[in-house]
Symmetry: C2
Subunit: 538 residues, 2 copies
């Protein structure tokens, strides 16, 4: 469909290793900075194409779910290599589509290939198998115990919905795709309409890795189009969903998935206001620095982070009043930034309007002059009563460079206010040594509310590692038992299977007596890498 | 409410350590063998009482979720001791209410206290914490890595719905209650109307353990009544649901839980027909024994097991024809048995009626004479086409002593028939050495269909151990990623939390540098029991 570039973009669906499209190309790719067409158009997937993509994933599943962890590790590493080989043209397109600055995009590419490699490492470590063996006890009374062995296997084809704000790390080859592929689950990815060129170029990179590693056609599929998400989630071949986006969108897909004849698990990462509590001693020691860091954090990337600290809470004091003044000053000095797309900016403006009309929310800082295509940082203050009453407007995430300050009377009111918060991705305490007495109860409370609790940091960096949790109680996500970042993310797409009295010849390597993968296995309640002695030689 | 016994049964709800009832006692306890009143009556819980029970659990949660794993282990062990101390009177009541024979009930008590102790062991082993540490990398470029530590914490108060067929092991103090309490989650248990005396005596045993171990009032609550399940699942304080019962009942509660403003995880174990494939060589070697063992398994306990093998499949042959004849002979010789209650028997009879009316299902054996309160074993044969067409009637679990035989033409038809099965708790292959060539593909297919795949055994025993999976794809359960038996069951009620840059003084013991619990922790990607060296001394 290219009219302006040497890139071979077809704008078609990726289905079972083929490029397919029927009808006319109707989806127009737009530049983020001026909403003008980039010159590329994409085909809206038809219902038939969505069905074909899900069927292709289902066919691939039977082969792909039986690949070894080592084979999948090689595949993920090959995808990482292809991502790392993407050149300047790719980044130029991504920057055009998202208005994200080049250093941010190249950094995000490193994160994206890095998390592919982290899952490859997890697969090579063998921890993914969850191998457990309870040996037969033929002489036990009153009943003998059979030989029982447990491992984990892929749940089935996964539908993945990427986010607009991370066109690489939470999109086509992002964390959900990486986790699903690592688990042995083929993926049907719904391309985000905000960065379709980026999506197509990334999908082509994945396709190259599929071919190099001789993975089954259909292990990765991608469809374009706005309204096809519902059809995809309802397709009987789809067995799980990964989603990053708005509460409204995530909940709608969740509801459809739960109303299926066969409901399927949905991990939707949706909405969080990421409270930050500023404790008195920390405020006294470094109030000015905190003001600077807070504004940096909530305006970073134009506030387009799921972990943006949107709520700043502290006890009424002269120092807190000064903090508010410092925040105002810095917000007023923040330069306007371009948002990801017109829709994001419209949502930002309508979010601000709703706050403007609320009698207990007061605008503190930020120019309200209209800047075409740009968003301006804003600061609000809310009456503490809004938290105490669990006012829904205050708890609603407004995506963009804005935060709300809340003053509380004392520790008791602080605890009561935090108790009324909904589930969060993160909660942060800025606290010095002398604050720790009071911080202890707060931290315990916040651990019930959030997937990640931070001290003296800002939530807008999400490290990709073993210990990360990017999740949390509803509405932060649809299932607090999962995470979409870090190695634990794979568990969303695995299910346990028990093999009872299996013939040695049919046991998967992870569960064979000789332990050929050298796994750390739970054998009769103890972790060991030792081989099992067969009763005959024992 | 006792009129005939020395037992101090009040028939009231257990709420926050109190016995509470308003209104009139309306729930009449019935004998299973003749549907006559036992002489005991119970109070239907009011909406206010359901609310009070959920609130009591929520209050207890703040304290109970902060107890150490060691404290919870002691509590579970104390419950086990109380269960083991239940005397002859208890079993006499349980036998009256369920018609289950005494040896079965005393065996089930051992299993029930045994699984409490297994979870206590799991808590003492420390594996429950899932401790992972990624150390700070202050010098990393371009950005330093903060210190990140992950552990698992209780999800919140859990509503548990017990099953009629295991009045101990899947009821008041059964596996779901044990898993929830082990995880740090208070329980609101809905007593099953089929064994309310047993439920009250068991709840009193739990209450004694609560007091001895000084656990918070409200850590265990129990409400009586048929229609209150919906209110319980919709109560905002309830954060997860464990259910064992029918597909209809489980799905109804699942739907309510998913439609809540805040949806919550539901693990419902519901419906499975547990296919058994009889392979040619095994049939040739021991056909008569297989017939005897199959009939024993599907008539065991009057067929009232979730894992009852309800579908027997084999390739058309003289030996398979002989197997069918042997099955018929043994079914016709099976003595009638008493079912758990009138409702169960009504379901059994209406299930048989539906099959009788199906043109492609043929009755093969079993007297159809009416026996008051008794159920008679039955055998049917179905045309293989029913499996190939995924006929819903054939796949519907009929609880009771009945199985369906299906003959297939060849291996290809066998694979096609099995491919059309819905999700199962178990799938079994009866196969000898020479069958293994063909069994390999079958086993791989069945691993996609079931939570447990057995060779040369019968599914009706469910071992309580590390490696067990009592779960499986829908409709066997509502979430194939869980199990309701075995230590893995605890994971349904835990969620991960990441602590970032936490002050040493506030870290939970599982994540402290010195590793005071001597846990095997994943530290920077490697398992170790070693303490962490602080950067200062390193």
């Amino acid at each position: 469909m290219s009219t302006h570039s040497t890139y071979a973009l077809s704008g078609k669906q990726f289905i079972g290793g083929q490029r397919i499209a029927s009808g006319d190309a109707e989806l127009i790719s737009l530049r983020a900075d001026n909403q003008q067409p980039t010159g590329y158009r994409f085909y809206q997937a038809s219902l038939t194409e969505v069905d074909a993509a899900a069927q292709a994933a289902a066919r691939a599943f039977n082969v792909y779910s039986q690949t070894s962890a080592e084979q999948r590790a090689d595949f993920l590493a090959a995808i990482a290599d292809e991502l790392d080989a993407l050149g300047d043209d790719f980044f130029a397109f991504a920057a055009q589509e998202t208005a994200l600055p080049l250093p941010r995009l190249t950094g995000e590419r490193g994160r994206t290939s890095g998390q592919m490699r982290l899952f490859a490492e997890l697969l090579r470590s063998g921890r993914v198998h969850g191998a457990k063996i309870d040996s037969a006890l033929p002489d036990r009374t009153p009943l003998p115990r059979p030989d029982l062995r447990q491992y984990r296997t892929a749940i089935g084809p996964v539908a993945v919905f990427g986010a607009s704000n991370f066109p690489l790390a939470f999109s086509t080859a992002g964390g959900d795709t990486a986790a699903a592929l690592a688990a042995g689950c083929p993926v049907v990815f719904k391309a985000h309409s905000g960065h379709m060129i980026t999506a197509e170029l990334t999908a082509l990179a994945i396709e190259r890795a599929v071919q190099k590693q001789q993975m089954p056609a259909g292990v990765f599929n991608m469809v374009f189009g706005g309204s096809i998400g519902a059809d995809l989630v309802q397709h009987p071949a789809i067995q799980a969903v990964g989603f990053t986006g708005s509460l409204q969108g995530g909940r709608a897909l969740f509801d459809l998935a739960m109303q299926r004849p066969q409901p399927i698990p949905v991990f939707a990462e949706m909405s969080s206001i990421n409270p930050v509590v500023v404790m008195p001693q920390a405020l006294a020691q470094r109030g000015e620095k905190i003001a600077q860091e807070l504004v940096s954090s909530f305006t970073l990337g134009c506030g387009q982070f799921c972990t943006k600290p949107g709520l700043i809470i502290g006890k009424r004091s002269a120092a807190f009043t000064q903090l508010i003044a410092d925040l105002q000053m810095r917000v007023n000095a923040s330069p306007p930034q371009t948002m990801l797309n017109a829709g994001t900016r419209d949502h930002y403006l309508s979010g601000l309007q709703a706050w403007d009309q609320h009698p207990q929310l007061h605008h503190l800082a930020g120019s309200r002059a209209e800047h075409a295509h740009l968003a301006v940082a804003q600061l609000y203050q809310a009456d503490c009563q809004l938290l105490l009453n669990a006012d829904p407007l205050l708890q609603q995430e407004v995506f963009g460079p804005v935060a709300i300050v809340v003053e509380v009377a004392d520790q008791q009111q602080l605890l009561a206010a935090l108790e009324n918060l909904q589930g969060q991705l993160t909660a942060t305490l800025l606290a010095d040594e002398e604050d720790l007495g009071e911080a202890s109860a707060l931290a315990q409370l916040l651990t019930r509310k959030a997937g990640r609790v931070l001290f003296n940091g800002y939530p807008t960096g999400v490290e990709v590692c073993e210990a990360m949790v990017h999740g949390g109680p509803y509405p932060a996500t649809s299932d607090s038992r999962g995470t979409s970042v870090g190695t634990l993310a794979i568990e969303r797409f695995l299910r346990p299977v028990c093999l009872q009295n299996y013939p040695a010849a049919l046991l998967p390597p992870a569960l064979q007596d000789s332990n050929p993968l050298n796994l750390l296995r739970l054998v009769n309640g103890e972790y060991t890498r030792a081989a099992l002695h067969s009763p005959a030689t024992h």
